[in-house]
């Protein structure tokens, strides 16, 4: 039997219904506001479990729905880590292809969230290690005249209230921070990224990196100390 064509359309708003997954929708129930957070989390977990089971049975629409639920944060993480659209897209692509190929071996021992982040962080770590070997500074590129410039310097601040002076300062500082982050080991960089920039809990970070919360804390502390020292050095 031929595989169904998979098409992934852009999500316009959150909460769009699952298409093509029988039984994936639940009847609406009234939940008191103070219980809503936990209830939504449980609901999400249940929906995920159903989608995963469907995907394991070969329902590609269900896998596609999983992609749509998680791919925004995945792309944001990969893009912030690599600072390159091309590299971020490669990591995104590889992560979801790996998930697709291995969905059959998903045993519900962790959430799909942890699982997909584990795949993505491993790919990001590989990327960082390769970059360290190449000693490549991703922010600095050479233009056609042989002049080097920092790509971050080219990003204009379009936020309301941004003045050109503030914008310049912000860009200079941003560029300096990107260089300082290169001082971290790939693992320290990853923990710092997930905590500081992506706002994940250390317990989740530990789980994603297949380690304990305590180790994640220590790695974060070490990374932070290195960064503070490095920032003092470039002031």
């Amino acid at each position: 039997m031929a595989a169904e064509a998979i098409a992934i359309a852009l999500t316009v708003s959150p909460g769009i219904a699952v298409a093509g997954v029988p039984g994936a929708e639940q009847a609406p129930t009234v939940i008191p506001s103070h219980e809503r957070g936990a209830a939504e989390q449980t609901q999400r977990r249940m929906n995920d479990a159903e989608l995963i089971r469907e995907a394991q049975r070969g329902n590609q629409a269900a896998f596609e729905e999983l992609v749509r639920q998680y791919d925004g944060p995945v792309l944001r993480l990969a893009y912030h880590m690599t600072r390159s659209e091309q590299d971020a897209q490669d990591i995104y692509q590889e992560a979801f292809l790996k998930a697709y190929r291995n969905i059959g071996s998903f045993r519900f021992e962790c959430s799909f969230y942890t699982w997909i982040y584990r795949i993505v962080t491993n790919l990001c770590l590989d990327h960082l290690r390769k970059r360290q070997v190449r000693k490549e500074d991703s922010g600095v590129v050479t233009d056609s005249d042989g002049e080097t410039f920092d790509m971050l310097d080219q990003v204009a601040d379009v936020r309301p209230g941004a003045s050109p002076e503030k914008d310049l300062m912000r860009r200079e500082l941003g560029s300096r921070i990107a260089k300082v982050l290169e001082k971290l080991t790939p693992r320290e960089r990853m923990v710092f990224e997930m905590k500081h920039y992506q706002g994940l809990k250390l317990r989740t970070i530990g789980e994603i990196l297949n380690t304990t919360e305590e180790t994640a804390k220590n790695t974060l502390f070490r990374g932070t100390q290195k960064l503070r020292a490095a920032l003092r050095g470039v002031r």
Partner: protein
């Protein structure tokens, strides 16, 4: 609690990772220890500085481009299947193996020969007169090959492949016919069959299962004709079914075909006052590459009552 403990934990404190009691103790300590207060201030400043490297949400077009690239790759993928599924559904993989295994070839030949005899015997016993809806063994279906609608009787004939081809005939409301139509709309290789199926189903859009299938076709079918016909079937439900409205909105913004997008625009006209639709129209009126879509969006927006 001592100064060294505070130094070790000030990072966790600022990230909200300390337990409530430890957080309280740290605050008490910092209030009376200048060295630790300075350490806290320095760490806070450091975290603010690090935030100068902004985390940007991927733009809609970047996300869409990434999804399209993934979609292409997924189309060439097959999930890891169990051996019995490969046996049942992937004859080409078997044929590749046959080249290297004469014994296997013999087994396949014998099974094939026996199966062929069985099928012939069955077809001889079966009266090929007017086919009646029968219990469908889904595992044995190879695909729907043709769908015909008789305008005189309003019946639909669905032809599908099993070990031997089968035919089912009845009204769209007949559950067995409907099941086959729903199946064909989602999984058929032949876009003509998908189109006929979507057309036949369009008369039963009061059934949520049918709307779900048409929504699926609108979002994912590779053929613009199938998407357009699904859209036509769904148009009556943009008001009452939020999932239909969302799918039509997605098509309006992202469908690769201008005809489908313009169909979606007109289908959404009755709900143009809806905030999500208005936002989409404003976006299109501002920067859609198509003159037609920009103009039509502006026209719909202009006809809208101003909200004070």
């Amino acid at each position: 609690m001592n100064c060294e403990w505070v130094r070790q934990n000030v990072t966790l404190y600022l990230y909200g990772e300390l337990a409530d009691d430890a957080q309280h103790e740290l605050e008490q300590h910092v209030a009376r220890c200048q060295t630790c207060a300075a350490e806290l201030a320095e760490q806070r400043e450091f975290q603010e500085q690090m935030s100068a490297l902004p985390v940007e949400e991927p733009t809609a077009s970047f996300l869409a481009a990434s999804r399209m690239r993934l979609q292409e790759a997924l189309e060439h993928e097959h999930p890891q299947r169990a051996w019995y599924q490969r046996l049942a559904f992937d004859p080409t993989a078997w044929l590749r193996q046959v080249r290297f295994s004469p014994a296997l070839a013999m087994v396949i030949f014998m099974v094939g020969f026996g199966g062929g005899l069985g099928a012939m015997y069955q077809s001889m016993r079966h009266n090929p007169g007017t086919p009646q809806p029968e219990n469908i063994n889904w595992q044995a279906i190879g695909g729907v090959t043709a769908i015909e609608k008789d305008p005189a009787t309003n019946e639909v004939k669905v032809q599908y492949d099993r070990v031997a081809p089968g035919t089912v005939q009845g009204r769209v409301s007949d559950p067995k016919v409907q099941d086959l139509l729903l199946y064909a709309a989602k999984s058929n290789e032949n876009s003509g069959v998908r189109l006929s199926s979507v057309d036949a189903l369009a008369e039963k859009t009061d059934d949520p299962r049918v709307r779900e299938t048409l929504t699926y076709a609108l979002r994912y079918d590779s053929n613009p004709g199938v998407r357009l016909h699904s859209l036509e079937g769904l148009a009556a439900y943009v008001k009452d079914d939020i999932r239909v409205r969302n799918a039509v909105l997605e098509s309006l913004l992202n469908d690769s075909n201008l005809g489908v997008r313009s169909g979606a625009l007109h289908a959404l006209e009755p709900v143009k006052a809806d905030s999500s639709v208005r936002m989409a129209l404003e976006q299109l009126a501002k920067d859609d590459p198509s003159d037609y879509m920009r103009g039509e969006s502006k026209r719909l927006l202009a006809a809208m009552p101003t909200v004070y």
